[in-house]
């Protein structure tokens, strides 16, 4: 029975003939049908907004009176606003802090936890747990932790140190947010690194040890090089993510104190939803796209190599 079916399948009509076309249409019909809903939705909710983003950066968007073409006015507004420069600086500072404070933490803990002989599972769960907590809970919780009469300042008090105004001092505000985000997010990065660390063949360490390599040498010459691709990929992912950061800055400090946590993405949000200037907000978004677009392609290429 199977054989006859295969035979039928392998006897195509001649190309160009009517049955051939019909046959091909029939053969591909469901393939297209299955694609149609996704194509429609991707166009409606991805490509149209992206295209409109380009278009509206040259318009004044007004929901009541309709949009008017203004040429490069939005870009001019954006580029002459002194806040843009502040926001770019703050964003770069935020990205730098996230690298210095947060980037190495998951790598170090992944290597350390892989060496635990016992309780590895419990430690993993504990490290990941903050990542599960909703962001709004995080904000409420850390506002209390950072409070002048909260537990961190209480600890500093018992140690005899001065109190730290975590959220109200402009020197501390961004750093405090980075600490909070590192606390929440390092667990997920740690698990990714941990999977990679555990996939390194144990024999390599065995061989290195027999050759007389010490513990540090083994980490430096075996563990870290094995993680290299992943580290680069995670670095790019983090840069892409932090360059667009605005939510904790908005929720906890609203860009303050003194605009020290006003990031570029937050400025876009403020232009759109505080000043209701959607045109300039879109223009700022386009500028961001031009700068960040290249990074996305780089990430894709590296991710492909990694797989």
């Amino acid at each position: 029975m199977n054989q006859t079916a295969i035979l039928n399948d392998e006897l195509p009509a001649k190309p160009g003939s009517k049955p051939y076309k019909q046959n091909r249409w029939k053969k591909n019909f469901w393939g297209y049908m299955f694609l149609v809903p996704a194509l429609v939705i991707f166009i409606m909710f991805m490509w149209v907004p992206i295209f409109k983003g380009f278009l509206y950066s040259f318009y004044t968007v007004d929901f009541v009176k309709g949009n008017t073409f203004v040429g490069f006015d939005n870009y001019a507004t954006a580029l002459t606003d002194p806040d843009v420069l502040i926001a770019v600086k703050n964003t770069l500072y935020y990205m730098l802090l996230c690298l210095v404070v947060g980037f190495w933490v998951p790598i170090a803990f992944a290597i350390a936890i892989s060496e635990l002989r016992r309780f590895g599972g419990v430690v993993r769960v504990a490290a990941y747990l903050p990542y599960v907590m909703p962001a709004v809970v995080l904000y409420g919780l850390w506002r209390w932790l950072y409070d002048p009469v909260g537990p961190i300042n209480a600890l500093l008090g018992t140690l005899g140190a001065d109190q730290i105004p975590f959220l109200t001092d402009s020197r501390w505000s961004m750093l405090s947010l980075v600490f909070m985000e590192t606390w929440q997010q390092f667990g997920s990065g740690m698990l990714i690194y941990l999977a990679a660390v555990l996939s390194i063949p144990r024999d390599w360490y065995e061989a290195a040890e027999i050759d007389g390599a010490g513990v540090w040498a083994r980490i430096r010459h075996i563990t870290l090089p094995s993680l290299r691709n992943l580290i680069v990929l995670m670095l790019i992912l983090q840069i892409i993510a932090t360059s667009q950061g605005y939510q904790s800055q908005l929720a906890l400090l609203d860009g303050g104190p003194n605009k020290t946590t006003l990031t570029y993405a937050l400025l876009i949000v403020k232009y759109a939803f505080t000043q209701l200037d959607y045109g300039t907000a879109t223009a700022l978004g386009m500028l961001m796209f031009i700068v960040l677009g290249g990074l996305g392609i780089l990430q894709f290429k590296l991710g492909k190599e990694d797989n």
């Binding site: 591909n28 996704a38 939705i41 983003g53 919780l141 506002r143 009469v149 537990p151 796209f289 996305g296």
Partner: protein
């Protein structure tokens, strides 16, 4: 000791004093890390069960001196948590259905069906990954407004089908199913939709579970976007409502505030503890998300 059971350190290394010290320090740092992770989470719970006076006392206590379980009741009554919960679940279920139907069919089509120009279609979906989401956030909002979708659940459900990351997850999963299964179905006379619904879908339960967890956590955690799209109180999601009525409100007693925060973080924590294995596996997949 078998070579498979060693790590970077071997049993032999641990006999050296210097290594012992390093190992001890490492365990110490891990212990501090675990404490730093657990203390704030447990504090959220215990603060929610203290009297308001005790929460605000300085220095803070860890365990409540008196347990005030009535705080939980006050928390539920302070804002209509159940209504916000219902809205959140509504969005979650709708997003899940749209994702599975729209992206499931599209990824199956690209992965296992006859489609000319398959590469072009694939690239059409993939291209969106290169564009940073924040750069078209505002036009996205304007677009929803122009479509008349603001303040409607459809504003979440429909765009849920435009998720490239989930598309890739599904496609990779279907790529991993042996094509012979579908060949056999075809030969036995199954139509294409039939081989999708009766063969591919039942085989895909693990990836659907992973997606369900991702979609749940997005629906549960996202506070900013829903606060823009939904502008009447009866449509707010839980996270948005907490942001608007709890986080930035000074008049609310701190213990009740924490009781609410505790209640809201409880479901995701439980989901995590129950489906730990699924999630730990899913995390590694999310490395491509960005």
């Amino acid at each position: 000791m078998k070579s498979a059971e060693r790590g970077i350190l071997s049993e032999h290394d641990l006999k050296k004093t210097s290594n012992k010290v390093v190992y001890g320090l490492m365990v110490f740092f891990i212990a501090i890390m675990v404490f730093t992770m657990m203390y704030p989470i447990l504090m959220t719970m215990f603060n929610g069960l203290k009297s308001n006076q005790e929460v605000n006392s300085f220095p803070p206590h860890f365990f409540p001196q008196e347990w005030h379980f009535s705080n939980l009741k006050d928390a539920v009554n302070y804002i209509d948590l159940l209504m916000f919960l219902k809205n959140t679940l509504y969005i979650f279920v709708g997003n899940m259905v749209v994702t599975l139907v729209v992206l499931g069919m599209a990824s199956f089509s690209i992965s296992r069906m006859n489609v000319p120009y398959r590469k072009a279609f694939y690239f059409f979906f993939l291209m969106t990954l290169f564009i940073p989401a924040t750069s078209y956030m505002i036009p996205n909002f304007v677009n929803l407004k122009e479509l008349g979708l603001l303040n409607q659940y459809a504003a979440f459900w429909l765009p849920a089908g435009a998720n490239t990351f989930f598309f890739l997850l599904l496609k990779n999963f279907f790529d991993g199913i042996h094509p012979e299964i579908f060949e056999a179905a075809r030969i036995d006379g199954a139509s294409e939709p039939r081989s999708f619904f009766s063969i591919a879908v039942p085989l895909s339960v693990p990836i659907f579970a992973t997606l369900a967890i991702f979609i749940f956590s997005t629906a549960w955690n996202d506070w900013f976007w829903p606060s823009l799209v939904m502008h009447t109180e009866d449509k707010y999601t839980l996270a948005t409502a907490i942001y608007k009525y709890v986080i930035n409100v000074k008049a609310l007693n701190t213990n009740i505030k924490f009781a609410i925060l505790f209640l809201v973080s409880l479901p995701p924590i439980l989901v995590f503890l129950i489906f730990q294995k699924f999630i730990m596996r899913g995390v590694t997949l999310s490395a491509v998300k960005g």
